[in-house]
Subunit: 219 residues, 2 copies
Amino acid sequence: MELTAAEENYLKVIYKLSDGGKTSISTNDLAAAMSMKPASASDMIKRLAEKKLLDYRKYYGAELSELGKKQAIEVIRRNKLWMVFLADRLKFSWDEIDQVADELEHTRSGLLLSRLEEFLGYPKVDPHGEPIPDVSGAIQTRPRIPLLALPIGQSAQIVSVKDSSPAFLKYLDKIGAYIGAQVKLLDKVEFDGSIELLVDQKRTVFMSSSIAANLLVMP
Amino acid sequence: MELTAAEENYLKVIYKLSDGGKTSISTNDLAAAMSMKPASASDMIKRLAEKKLLDYRKYYGAELSELGKKQAIEVIRRNKLWMVFLADRLKFSWDEIDQVADELEHTRSGLLLSRLEEFLGYPKVDPHGEPIPDVSGAIQTRPRIPLLALPIGQSAQIVSVKDSSPAFLKYLDKIGAYIGAQVKLLDKVEFDGSIELLVDQKRTVFMSSSIAANLLVMP
DNA sequence: ACAAACGATTAGTCAAGGCTAAAAATTAAT
DNA sequence: ATTAATTTTTAGCCTTGACTAATCGTTTGT
Ligand SMILES: [Mn+2]
Ligand SMILES: [Mn+2]
Ligand SMILES: [Mn+2]
Ligand SMILES: [Mn+2]
């Protein structure tokens, strides 16, 4: 079953919007996430339904089928492996990666993918700290909590960022809060939820709650 | 001027068929080289002419314009850099490379290309020994002659292969005649043009003239 | 309960890029 | 010089995947 690049793009976004294909998504949400018009999304939903990639009841939203889920995960796997290549080997910064990986992810060649994975040393997470699905489609999730949920005085490792905007990533860079950095929550301000953080045992940083809310850590 | 993948594929093939864009090519030849129907090639030629990528007189063939030549060389450059990546880093064998590189070559990102080139160490030749155009489009050709034209007793380095068929490449592998290998022409049989060759100062090989005709060497 | 608002689908259009079949132009053979 | 063969172009059709405008269904506010 050969999917086109457009179909793969839709599947990937549907998967992400619907929390791993578990919940139903609306036409307008899909269109917005794809930066397209609702009519186009509606069209594509109908076609994906015909190909049995999702279950669809008119006017009531779409949900990925098992097959659709499998295909979406495959695309995500390709995307993340290319992300690792771009970040680790080609020294792309976080904010430059996504667009290029969105193109490379559609190169269809089983050999390419397995060789790339081997070349990269079988990475387990992408540059944002998200787990990479393995060859069978299994996604190994690690226990992680929002930085804000960490008890005062406890240390943890930054494992993931929820926002990918250049501004946000640039800020993280500035304070040294990269993926894998060790942090310790020194204090929480009750009033506005802002926090005081020790980064890599070196630097103390004050951070607003809206920033902290986008960081996930592993205690 | 954004070119589609289809347009880039045609330009690349036109360039190669027409000896660097210098001579005019026919619709049928182009169609055959693209594995498409003459009607489709005719269609595309018309569109490329409208975009000033080639000069075209109905019924009399097409020739690349300076602009078209420049674009074609750019595609070839991307193609060859990916080839080097696939061969050197992902350990693809010669016969597995071409199809995948034909897909990767269309990924459009100036940053990607320059970083990839840097990562690969600014290679000068592709895995077949063909020179890689530099960033300005210049192609540095090296003096090279057919193996058959080498005088008896003279040594030379294999720099390029003219055939890319799996069977041929497999044979070269077997006798150790990779790109860069040092060879010495020991003897020529007048009758059938076959030759006796010393490969890498180690092995003596007998080779038919049809094989030898596909090897280019640098004395 | 019904109208208005909102969300989703359909109808119709377009461009790219393939195809087949038919027509036209060129080239080769008698 | 005609005719025949070959090459090239055109005409018409198809699919994908976008769009706008119009319509249809559902949900909400009064
Ligand atoms: Mn994509
Ligand atoms: Mn290509
Ligand atoms: Mn067309
Ligand atoms: Mn459609």
